[in-house]
């Protein structure tokens, strides 16, 4: 059994969001880069847990990005996994990134491909579905629980107001979110081991880009809070009813 975990780099969740170059580029001055939380806490940890239970499972990591993604992929390797690929490109279009992951996945004949539910910067929630579509594999999105049973898997997925339990034949692509696993902290042994794990840099496969960022914008600033005294909730109700017109 071979598992491929897709890992991406995102700004730390507390980063100040600002743009440069006439609002066409994210301002990364002073930004701390982290592994996208959904990839790290859920997709990667679940893959490692499966390997811990069954030593015959290999876990490979893939990131599509420039050399600046290497610290992130090393950190991911410190949590676990056998080896990693970095597809060397700065192209950010989802179709292009998914094409790269699909090429790696095809080459390695993986039984399972895990992604995070979405990146917390682009919020695409689309790479998993694109990879599954390109490879014509079943896809379960927004998984909250994942269990392997031989050539099939039992996966809980989020639906409006609850969950659905799915059974799927492998190979398959799964996008992971909270519930699938619990966050782990890498230990010293893992960090040491990661230094010698193979990190293969591969050049991108030929693929098209179908979208590009024209510009960014920030939402208009809030006018400021209107405070209502705690002993006059009726006034709050009046404001919500008459001024904001939301109740």
């Amino acid at each position: 059994m071979k598992i491929l975990v897709c890992v991406s780099k995102t700004p730390d969740t507390t980063s100040k969001i600002a743009f440069t170059n006439g609002n066409t580029k994210f301002d990364d001055a002073g930004v701390q880069w982290i592994i996208n939380p959904y990839d790290e806490w859920y997709a990667l940890v679940r893959a490692i847990e499966l390997k811990e239970k069954d030593a015959s499972i290999t876990v490979h990591l893939v990131t599509v990005g420039g050399a600046d993604a290497e610290p992130i992929i090393r950190k991911a390797l410190a949590l676990g996994g056998d080896e990693a690929f970095r597809v060397n490109t700065d192209n950010h279009d989802s179709f292009y990134i998914a094409s790269q992951i699909a090429a790696i996945a095809k080459e390695g004949a993986y039984d399972l491909i895990f992604t995070g539910k979405e990146t917390i910067d682009y919020n695409g929630s689309s790479i998993g579905g694109l990879v599954a579509g390109l490879l014509d594999l079943p896809y379960i999105s927004l998984a909250t629980k994942f269990e392997l049973n031989g050539a099939t898997a039992t996966v809980n997925r989020e639906i409006e107001g609850g969950e659905e339990v799915n059974s799927v034949s492998l190979p398959a692509v799964i996008s992971c979110q909270k519930g699938v696993a619990e966050q782990r902290i890498p230990n010293m042994r893992g960090i040491m081991a990661a230094r010698t794990k193979p990190l293969k840099v591969v050049e991108p496969a030929a693929a098209d880009s179908l979208t590009s960022v024209a510009s960014f914008e920030l939402p208009p600033a809030k006018a400021g809070v209107k405070l209502v005294p705690a002993d006059n909730v009726a006034e709050l109700v009046r404001l919500l009813h008459e001024e904001a017109k939301v109740i």
């Binding site: 929630s125 579905g129 979208t211 709050l236």
Partner: protein, 317 residues
């Protein structure tokens, strides 16, 4: 050329997010000077011809009960076959849309923008405004492919109706045998689904323990609202995981978000800052949430919230 809108449904009824997508798709078709049609995979008890009131002229249906359960692989192939002369496809950016739209993008090699918040700018190319950085910013994304796919963020486009009837066209397409089977559905019945709710009442660690959630539930019930919570509340199992909102939980954009005993950490705000109106109830005047709020009460939730519930009941009478 036309616009095709994917009509999502569950339990025999078309979802609210689909009405938003229909309105959006019909407005987009008008902007482009083309017609809009809908596509429904599966069966519903709603009247399909009546969907004309959202501005579409035709509803295509693959009338097959097996399609009421989602297998994204099966559904995406049907969408790709039903696409006809459509050059823009619109989905809701909900659980179904997130599963199906990217696959259709792969099949048709159609540029995809997910989480759109407004109609595209078609004055020079095709540029879609989408939410990025978990609601902290927007990106304008240009799509260059011939066929384009948009998923529309829930609660970001108001539903409009007018006079109109749609022609219903049955498609004789045969779905593949699904590789995914649904073995159980665990739905909390009677509750308003969080991602579709217009009003959300949310509680944080300030409520001290799960036994105090009646406060939140009573207020939510009075407002016909969904309930939500902060991450530590779900992590401590005071509330179910699917109520956790924020950067790592669910992102919502209701008309009204009432935060009770939540400090307003940046990761929490990332899930709720697209709400139209935010009300914060917190006993600490320095709580960061007040900076992101429209209205606030500095006070003890255990005193303020029951009064608020009563005051709302009073005006609802």
């Amino acid at each position: 050329m036309s616009v095709l809108i994917f009509i999502d449904h569950a339990d025999g009824h078309i979802k609210k997010a689909a009405f938003e997508a229909l309105t959006y798709g019909a407005d987009l078709a008008r902007q482009l000077g083309v017609q809009a049609g809908g596509l429904l995979l599966g069966t519903v008890s709603d009247d399909l011809a009546a969907l004309g009131k959202y501005g579409i002229t035709t509803v295509h249906q693959v009338n097959n009960e097996a399609l009421n359960q989602l297998d994204a692989q099966v559904q995406a192939k049907l969408v790709a076959q039903a696409v006809g002369d459509a050059t823009v496809l619109v989905f809701a950016h909900n659980q179904t849309g997130k599963a199906v739209a990217p696959r259709v993008s792969a099949l048709l090699k159609a540029g995809l923008v997910t989480g759109a918040v407004a109609l595209p700018d078609t004055s020079n190319g095709f540029v879609v405004k989408k939410s990025v950085f978990s609601g902290k910013a927007f990106a304008n994304i240009a799509i260059s492919s011939a066929v384009k796919i948009i998923t529309l963020n829930p609660n970001s486009y108001s539903i409009k109706t007018a006079e109109g009837t749609a022609a219903v066209n049955q498609l004789s397409l045969t779905p593949d045998v699904p590789k995914v089977t649904v073995t159980a559905v665990n739905k909390v019945s009677g509750e308003v689904p969080l991602t579709e709710a217009e009003i959300v009442v949310s509680g944080g660690r300030g409520l001290k323990g799960p036994e105090n959630w009646k406060l939140v539930e009573d207020l939510a019930h009075t407002l016909h609202a969904a309930t939500a919570c902060s991450r530590p509340v779900a992590d401590s199992h005071w509330r179910p995981h699917h109520e956790h909102v924020g950067q790592t939980g669910i992102q919502i954009a209701p008309n009204l978000y009432i935060a009770i005993g939540i400090s307003g950490a940046i990761q929490h705000l990332a899930g709720v800052n697209r709400s139209k109106v935010i009300v914060v109830i917190n006993k600490d005047p320095e709580a960061p949430f007040f900076k992101a709020a429209d209205y606030g009460i500095v006070g003890d939730a255990f005193e303020v919230v029951p009064q608020l519930t009563e005051a709302i009941k009073a005006i609802k009478k």
